[in-house]
Amino acid sequence: MTQEIITLAHGSGGHAMQQLIEQEIMAVFANPLAPANQATEDQARVPLSLLQAHSNGMGGQLAMTTDSFVIDPIFFPGGDIGSLAVNGTVNDLAVGGAKPLYLSCGLILEEGLPISDLRKILQSMRRAADDAGVAIITGDTKVVNKGCADKIFINTCGVGVIPSNIQLSVKNIRVGDVLLINGSLGDHGATIMAMRGDLGIDKGAIRSDCNGLNEQIQALLEACPGIRCMRDATRGGIAAILNEFAQSGKVKIQLKEDSLPLKAEVRGLCELLGLDPLYLANEGKFVAILPEAEAQAGLTALQSFSEAKNAAIIGRVLEPETSMAPVLTMRNAFGSERLIDVPYGEQLPRIC
């Protein structure tokens, strides 16, 4: 009799756990891309020669990242906690110039989670992995008492290889470079904010931009060999990552307000709730810093992707002003400029 909900038995190492892993998890994640037969051993094994093949010569590097996903709600327009986990991990690798290869998947399940929900999430993870050309080759499952986790938490680890010819770093940032974003701001943050029951908002066409970026980034790297560095803009929006660029690159970064791509509905939500789209989370956006000469090539390369047709140049790197430390500012259509500070805590709707 197949179980309807997750129980403590599924986490206790016995038959129920074995059945869950084999029938629900392994069945979905089994993948010809995975080198060894993952089921039998406690660890997945990858021949080093296979990694070497991706490194384009001796100087390549192994890239590794980890992330945890605790989003509520676990299903939302444009994605779910499963696609978010895979894409978030793939993107962290891709913005470093790495070719993402393998992922781990650590599940922490709350007692009572419907297995149908778990199945949907695992299938969504598999689809996202296939889209990004990666395989989920190892993982772990734990079950906790009701109330000790919120339905499901996912922890991932991602492994990829950075070819020897790619050396992206904030140290490469030069005055005169431009900032390129691959699409509209704040779609994910607006979606989650609009779904919070107690705000009573019918979000219309707003949907999360949750998406794997490795193909877009691959195309950009080929079109613009001089790219300095990239970062994906998740929590804290682009304000967070651009402040990081300015601090670590020791430069002034100036955005141009009227060049920022913004969907009408996201703008409507921000106006209604008094939010600033620069601070809203994204899950399928990155900002690249590149020489101005390569800007047009970068735009053309990105705009060929349907999710990146709103790609735009949104600002430039300037000499830091003597009186002020490295800083992020924004110039508006009136010609005045204001500081964009790092986010302080979660952005809350504002009435006054």
Binding site: A194, G200, I201, D202, K203, G204, A205, I206, K263, A264, E265, R267, G268, L269, E271, L272, L273, G274, R350, I351, C352
Partner: protein, 90 residues
């Protein structure tokens, strides 16, 4: 003091509780119209009107004509060259 934004009344959500649907650049939200309904006026009468929305309430109807007059006045401001023509602006 108060984030208030213009929105257009595009539907009736709950007549009894005086709630309408207001569209704000593509998103919709239920909004109470108690503050803008005249005595005995039907909620349906507001359909298509633009209102100033604050904390889920339509606080005032936006006067299209006044808006156009203000905009025209500000446009004209650009062509004023003679120093004494400022008085007209009051």
């Amino acid at each position: 003091m108060c984030v208030g934004i213009p929105g257009q009344i595009v539907g009736i959500c709950n007549e009894e509780q005086q709630l309408v649907d207001v569209d704000i650049s593509g998103i919709k939200r239920p909004v109470n119209v108690a503050c803008v309904l005249e005595k005995g006026e039907q909620v349906a009468n507001l359909l298509g009107d633009w209102v100033l929305v604050h904390v889920g309430f339509a606080m005032s109807r936006i006067d299209e004509q006044e808006a156009q007059e203000t905009l025209a006045l500000l446009d004209e401001l650009g062509e004023l060259h003679e120093p004494d023509s400022d008085e007209k602006l009051a």
